[in-house]
């Protein structure tokens, strides 16, 4: 038991440090970019603002380019070790829902929580963007070959209303929410599309 308690303590300290990310990061509404006269420049600026969400640990942890997710605000390797699996849902015998239920669950015997949502899974590797520049993420996110066949309108719906995306702003005790709100993220996505969905350099 002592070993397990120690392991639990190490895991909690490693995975859930609230101080690891600047929780004061905010995002501006589309109107804040009205002063940029050129549509393409304004569009790229809007995507750069969206990038504050896209590069938040809440998004990056489950959009990896490797074989498995990371966790916590400091993006530690997932513990216990897990693999992506054929369906982006873990290994046979230890799929994501072995631990992750339909809702966040506060731990009973320690601080923190196990995150959860229905559905819960990794983004496909074609949608991984850890380590990419914002311009590269932008190109990827618009590309139906890599974004799950989504049109820009479907991408708007995903960003503005998808429940698992929305989990990023309700991540449970011990995790910093993504910047802003999903509503604001949706408004930025709308404005980015309406200005031509240009990408930053």
């Amino acid at each position: 038991m002592t070993f397990l308690k120690l392991a639990a303590t190490v895991w909690l300290c490693g995975a859930l440090p609230l101080w690891a990310q600047d929780s004061a990061v905010t995002i501006s509404p589309p109107a804040a970019f009205d002063g940029i006269a050129d549509d393409a420049e304004r569009s790229a600026a809007l995507f750069t603002e969206m990038g504050k969400v896209l590069t938040s640990p809440r998004c990056l942890n489950c959009h990896p380019v490797t074989g498995g997710p990371t966790q916590g605000d400091d993006m530690q390797p997932h513990n216990p070790p897990v693999v992506r699996g054929d369906a982006d849902f873990g290994a046979p015998g230890m799929t994501c829902n072995t631990c992750h239920g339909p809702k966040n669950v506060e731990l009973t015997t320690a601080q923190g929580s196990i995150p959860g949502h229905e559905p819960w899974s990794l983004a496909p590797v074609s949608m991984g963007w850890v380590g990419l520049s914002l311009g590269e993420i932008c190109s990827q996110i618009k590309d139906p070959e890599r974004n799950g066949g989504k049109t820009l309108e479907e991408l708007y719906e995903h960003n503005a209303h998808d429940g698992l995306v929305g989990w990023g702003w309700d991540p449970g005790e011990g995790r910093t929410p993504a910047p802003g709100t999903q509503e604001l993220f949706g408004q930025l996505t709308r404005a980015w599309i309406d200005t031509g969905a240009a990408c930053p350099a």
Binding site: W11, P80, T109, A110
Partner: protein, 152 residues
């Protein structure tokens, strides 16, 4: 009131829906084969089957499993778990034994899905089941042995 089945028996429980399933199994239903290890889904000792899939009962509020079928180590049946049990016994896998009900549940789930697992399959499926006696080499061997038994 929360209702679900455990080992084929219906239960209607007037308990806090946030109570972890593990608490209910051990303290209310007296099914003590499922163990408390860490309480934070890190060790796998509390693994049970929920609707046929492994689940860490220490982080599963009973309110989330309304209407589900729960199977604990006491209620496991079928060719895979029998093969696992025989293989475990044959090479004396357990040492202290605390983690073993969770290990057996995970091993059985793996064999139900992958009848002839590779070492990587075993490592990936069992990575969430910690053994403080470090019987990992025997666990892996026993899973291979059970798979061969099932092949006939």
């Amino acid at each position: 009131m929360t209702s679900f089945r455990v080992n084929g028996r219906d239960h209607d429980l007037d308990l806090d829906p946030d109570m972890p399933l593990l608490w209910v199994l051990r303290d209310e239903l007296r099914l003590t084969g499922t163990k408390f290890g860490c309480g934070i889904a890190q060790c796998g000792a509390c693994t049970v089957m929920v609707d046929g899939m492994p689940r860490r009962s220490c982080v599963t509020p009973i309110g989330q499993i309304e209407g589900s079928e729960v199977t604990t180590i006491e209620g496991m049946d079928g060719s895979e778990v029998k093969a696992v049990q025989a293989a475990w016994t044959a090479i004396d896998v357990p040492q202290c034994g605390w983690c073993q009900s969770g290990q057996i549940l995970s091993a059985t789930a793996l064999l139900q899905q992958v009848p002839s697992p590779s070492d990587d399959d075993i490592d990936n499926a069992m990575a969430g089941n910690i053994c403080r006696c470090a019987t990992y080499v025997r666990i892996r061997q026993a899973i291979h042995d059970a798979a061969r038994t099932l092949e006939g």
